[in-house]
Structure formats: structure tokens, C-alpha cells
Symmetry: none
Subunit: 230 residues, 4 copies
DNA sequence: AATGAATGAGCCTTCATTCAT
DNA sequence: GATGAATGAAGGCTCATTCAT
């Protein structure tokens, strides 16, 4: 009895070794949707299990509890998003940093505005930022840190090597902020501009604008930095 | 001491006719803190009442229930923030729009990064954006819409009259997004840059950066628009 | 403070010395309606006070509590019923017992089927019989006992002096039962015979039937008893 | 022991498909007792569960709530009463209607005056009549209507075919009323005639009296109807 | 004479979890 | 591998009542 439980936990902790249970998969899917809609506290294990056509005890059996399910859900959908909209090739060498910035912004927006399931991840993360659970720090380290590190590197290249670390961070946040607003403030945007929601879903158009809006500032800063240092 | 302060603030909210109950005031204060920390679903009426040194029944008596308390809390602290960092004079005539933009950004950041109680409002709003409750739409209309309208007007003046509405919206969101990132992604920032939190609290510095980063893009767009139209 | 309270209680216990407070009167009226509709446990002090346009504390002030209000309500509306449909003259001497029986039945039915407020009393009593409160025994002694005593006396006269006490009781219950069915089973009657409710409210017609149905049995018993004793 | 008994009874209720849970059975038993004693509003889920040695949550799990438990209790004990004192054979053909009337009355009284658990149903119904809950109409249709229909049919045969429907109803109520008085007015009877309670429990004696008292009236009406119609 | 504020006990229900099967 | 039954804690809320005014 105990052994079975431990075996499960072990497999879960192994990370990649997720057993291919159908019930388990249905739970991950349903939980993603419900958590994204109602938050961790607002979602009940019962509702999730009903949505997954599973028994009430299934969550505890497969994930050891609500918290366990939640962190697995976050990790799972993060992986799905990463796979559907990969970012690795963006850091590829030799391409102009401004081109890579454009790709980065477009990928970030795609991940956030995807209407399919991976959007759940974006909404889950938005909730985590607003009121973090125990799962938060881990996901930041595993998911956000490399992403932001990409952006930092690109910015560093644009601003030039001698740019101040603080300035690089601030510019990084200026870019990230412009992207994330479409995730975090989605409801506000919908309420403010009746005709806007249609537009707010076109990640390509938004990316274009952000680049167009940001490049002049970036170039100015690049010039200035160089001037300052001289 | 605290009570006097709260009473003062109440009295300034003319029109809503909030009774001068001490318990009621303590509840608003405590609920602000607890809701901001744990979210609507995560906060329990019992905990709030304990923090306010009030009876469990007080919430129902004064606010008709948990939801009533919550919406009053949001409205109340929104009013407090608006009063502590007013925005009305920013729309004042005759000042250069770029100057007014700088003031606007600084005020928004002050409201969001204030370490005192009004910050609660910012965190409450961050939670609302992530998973909105019934109170959300009302607050957006009463609180956010006028704020964003200010910004829109300023942007419109900078870009020139013939600027596209869609473009104005996108620029507006680019500014707002840069500001809000310091609210929404505060946890990420803390986890990413150990030395940054210190800096992230200096609203003035942040405002300076945002203006410095955005003005070149704005001017470029202003030029371009004029050119396009010609 | 305490004195005032005691004075109140004293006056209430005096029975006839009800002070002519308007609030108090409104409470008696509203409480009669609400108690009759929802029963003692189902009615809340708050609802009664709202219906009476009085303060929540009024019930405790005027009646010392919910139970006090309830017993006063029962006593009050019993008195109203007794006054509106008096029974005393029925026991008047010299009239034929069968005539007095007819009047008795008609009066009982009038009290029970009256559409005005005194009906409240009837419904309250029906509830008391189903699940009695502390107020029950008192009201039975003050209100029901004399009523039934009237009927017993009439039956005794009809059956003849030598009739068995047990038989007199059973006949008494047979008459009472026929009358009370229209009170207790009102809902059943309504559900059973769609066309009946109209008829069920005509106390005169019902009384006629009950007399017509019962007299043959009564006369038979009277004859039998006399025969038995001989 | 008790459980076995309850299980048996359940199994006989074919069609409703009640699961064979021990806790569920204990709840039905305890709830019958407590509801009968204190009414729907007066009985608390906690007390019922304590009496059933079950967890507070059991009521919600098995019955979906207090109201669900209540209606199941009513339906259950109605079925038990129907089974313990069946009425079907009374409508059997070829027997003299007056004999069947005697059996009907005796059965009704047995159901109402049974000292065992099924009496709960009688008291529950008395409470329902006094202040009906949502469960009432259903029980009337499933339980009372067929019963009264039996009686109506018997009365119709006694009075003869040409009897008026209204008259049949009134006679039906006269019989029912005499029976029900021993249920509804039990407390009054106890308070009025100290020596009576002993007698009030002998359903056979009461039935005898009711028949003796009613037959003359019935025959008279039968004769009269026939005369009238001629 | 009457009231608005406040109270603590108790209400029914839902929660995540555990158990035996 | 999976489930229906059962649990204790906690949830928000309503209750009759009391208090100071």
C-alpha cells in the first residue's frame, strides 16, 4: 500500500517519467482549465475530478494531493508551451540582435495569447504573480529565468558590452512589461476598447508595434551609453 | 491613531455616506491587508475578523457578507490611493505633453509601489486582473478608465491629432505595461535580480527610465504619422 | 434600566394591561402573520421586526425575547378570535341541545376558516398541535378546555345523563375531528379536490353537513344508551 | 439488528434503488425520530448525525443536504407504514362496503397510532399539514391521494351511484377527520382527559366507535339521496 | 421608548483527504 | 489501478440576544 504510494511519488519526482495513465492525463488537462479559470483556492478537487470524469480520490492517488496536482499542472503546461513555441533557436548566434529581439517578442506573445490549452499556463502564471503559491519559485527558476536570460543577452548585445547591468535590467523589464500587459491587463483592455479584443489576439501585430516602439529608445540608449563611456 | 486616520479618509469620500463605525473602519483596514496577502478565496472571514479584533458576524452586519466587504475594500483603498497620489492636476492645460507624461508615469508608479496601506489596492487589483471577481468591472470603470483616459489624451497630443486610434491604444498599453510590470512581476524581479528590489522601489528612478526609454519611440511615431499623412 | 424591564414584564403578565404602544401592536400583528406562515422555528425575529417596521431589539424590549413574543401572539389572537366569534351565548340555557350543537359547530368553523387575521390563531394552533412549544399547555387550558367543555356539555345533554364519560369524550372528538379536518388538512383538500377550496371556505355549508352527518349517529347512541341502562 | 431490519425494508422498496449503506440507513432512522420530535426547522443536522453516530458531512454526502434527507425520510417512512399496515386488500371486491369501511378506518388508525417507528411518519405528516415544506405535495400525491381514493370509493358504494361528488367528498372528510383527530389533537386529548391516553391508543376501540357513530349518518344519507333522486 | 452596533453560539454546507475494498 | 464511503476541519452565514446611548 505504502509502497505503491512511494513508487508513484518517485515517478512523479523523476520529472520525465510520467506514467501514461489515461486518468492522470485527463486530470492534468481538466485541472489546467479549472485552475486557470478559478485559481488555486477557487478550484475544488471535486470540480476538477468531475471535469476529468475521475473519482474524487484520483487526485490524491495520482498526485498526492491538491498541491501536488497543481505544481504538476504548472510544470506540465509550461513544458507544452515551451514545446509549441520554442525559444532556443532565438539565441542562435550570428543573427542580428534586433532580429532576435523581434522573434523573442513574437514568441513570448504567442505563448501568452495562444487560444489553445497552453494559454492556461499563461493565466496560471498571471495568477501566481498576483498571489504566489509554493509552486511559484520553482517555476520561475525553471521557466522564467532562462526566458529572461535570453532577453537580457539580446539587450546586452544591442546596448553594447559596457552597458550598465541596472540599465540592462530596466530595459529588459520595459520590453517584458509591454508584452505582459496583454496578458495581465487583458480584462481591462476588453473593458476599455470594445473594438480592441480582436486586435489584442494578433500576436504578430502586437510584436511589430512593440519593436517599432522600442527600437528608437534602444538605439538612443546604445548611442548614449557609448557616448557616456567615452 | 489609525482610527482617526481612517475616519478622516472616510469623511473625504463624500457621497457614499459611510457610517462612522469604529469596527467597520478596522474591518476595512484588516481586510485590505488580508485580501492583498491571500486573495479573495484564500482569505477567510474569520481571519479578517480576528485581525480586526471584531466578531465574525460583524462582516455580515456591516457589509452583508464576504463579497460585500471585498468590493467595499477595493473601492475604499482605490479612493485612498487616488487621494494620496492625485492625478487630476496632471491633465492641467498649457503644460508640455511630455512633461505631463513624466508626471503621469511617476504618479502611477507611486500608487503601485507605495509601501503603505494603499499598496494593498495595487495588489488587490493585480489579483483581480489575474482572476477577476464580480467587483472587477465596477472598479475598472470607476478607477482605471479615467486613469487610462488621461494617458490616452497625453499620447494623443504627443502623436498629433491625426494619429490612428488603434496606434494610440497600443502606445498607451506600451506605457502602462512598462509601469505595471513593476507591480505584476514584482516577485519575478525579486527572484531574478537580488540587488534589484532596492531599486525597484524608487518610483522616481523607474519613471525616469520609462520616459527616457519611451520618448524616442514616441517622437519617431509622431514624426512618422505626420509624414504618413502628408 | 432593570426597573423598566421588570415593569414591562409585570404589565405583560397582568394579562389585560397591555400598554397601547403602536410598535408593540405592529409587532403582534406582524408576528401573528409570520409565525402562522413559517412556524416558531422558521420565523426569525429579524423578519418579524422588518415586517413590523420596528428595530431588531424591539422584540426583546417589548416581549423579553422571541418566546415571549410568541406566547403573547398566541394569547392575543386567541382573544381576538374569541371576541369576533363568541361562544358564550351558545351555552345559554333553554335552547334545544341540537340547536346549540349546530351553533357550536358553525362558530368553531368560523373561527378556523376566517380569512382575516384571526385565522392566524387557527394556523398557529395547528402548528402547536403538530409540534408544541412551551406556550401550548397554557393555551389549551385557557382556550381549548372551555371550548371543549361547551361541546361536552351539549353532547351530554343529547346523549342523556346516564351516558358513559368515555362515550361522551369519543363523540366529542368525532364532532371536533370533523371540524378540525378543514383546518389541519386544508392543504390536502386543496390538492385533492381542485374544485373544493371554494366550498371549503363556506363555514355555513360545512356546519350543515357535519350536523346532518352526525345527528343520526347521536340519536342512535342516545337511544341505545337509554336502552342499555334500562 | 436494527440495521438488518432497515435493510430488509429497503430491499422491499424496489425501484428507488437505495444503496445498501449502513450509515445511510442509520441516518434515515435517526432523522425520522429527530424530525418527528422537533420538526424540520427545529432539528439540526448535527443532532441527527450525532444520534446516527455519523459524521456531519454524511448527510450531504448521502442526501445532498438537509432538505434531501428530510424528503427521503418522509418517503421512506411512508413506505414503511404502507407496508406494515397495508391497505390494498381493503379495496378487494365482493366484501360489503360497510365491512371495508371498518377495515379502512382500523388500518388508518393503526398507521397513525403505531407506537413503533412508523408513527414518525404520522407525526411528520401532521407537521407537514401544519406548515408544509417542499416535500409535501409529492407525499400527498404518492401517499395520501391513493388512501383517500380508497375511502372515496367505499363511500361512493355506500351512498349509491347517484350521490353527489361534493357530498361524497364531505362524507369522506367527516370520516377522515374523526380518524385524524386522534393524531392531530393527541396533545389536547392528553391534556383534557387524564384517563384517556390509555384508551386513545387502542385503534380497534376507536375504529369501532367511529363506525358506530358514522353508520347511521351514512345510511340516512344513502336513503335520502335515493329519495331525492327519485 | 427605542435604536444601531455588536456579540457568540450555532446553522448548513463544502473542503481536501483517507480508508477499506 | 481505481473507487465509493466516510471523515474532521473549516467555510460563510444567520440566529436571538445584549449593550450603550
Amino acid at each position: 500500500m505504502l509502497n505503491i504510494c512511494l513508487k508513484r511519488l518517485f515517478e512523479m519526482n523523476a520529472g520525465t517519467k510520467e506514467p501514461d495513465c489515461e486518468t492522470r492525463a485527463r486530470l492534468l488537462d481538466a485541472a489546467g482549465r479549472v485552475f486557470a479559470e478559478r485559481g488555486f483556492n477557487g478550484a475544488s478537487v471535486r470540480d476538477i475530478c468531475k471535469a476529468a470524469r475521475a473519482n474524487v480520490a484520483a487526485v490524491n492517488y495520482h498526485f498526492g494531493g491538491k498541491a501536488g496536482l497543481y505544481s504538476q499542472v504548472v510544470a506540465h503546461w509550461a513544458a507544452v508551451a515551451r514545446q509549441k513555441y520554442p525559444m532556443e533557436n532565438i539565441a542562435a548566434p550570428r543573427r542580428a540582435p534586433e532580429e532576435r529581439l523581434r522573434d523573442f517578442v513574437r514568441t513570448i506573445l504567442n505563448r501568452m495569447l495562444d487560444e489553445e490549452r497552453p494559454l492556461w499556463h499563461a493565466r496560471l502564471m498571471a495568477q501566481e504573480m498576483a498571489s504566489p503559491t509554493a509552486a511559484f519559485d520553482g517555476v520561475v527558476k525553471a521557466f522564467y529565468r532562462p526566458t529572461i536570460e535570453h532577453l537580457r543577452q539580446i539587450i546586452r548585445e544591442i546596448l553594447g558590452r559596457k552597458a550598465n547591468d541596472e540599465k540592462i535590467d530596466r530595459v529588459t523589464f520595459s520590453i517584458m512589461g509591454q508584452c505582459f500587459y496583454y496578458l495581465h491587463a487583458r480584462r481591462i483592455i476588453e473593458l476599455m476598447s470594445p473594438e480592441f479584443p480582436r486586435i489584442a489576439k494578433d500576436a504578430g501585430k502586437i510584436a511589430e508595434h512593440i519593436i517599432e516602439f522600442s527600437l528608437p529608445g534602444l538605439r538612443q540608449l546604445a548611442r548614449k551609453k557609448r557616448t557616456t563611456r567615452k
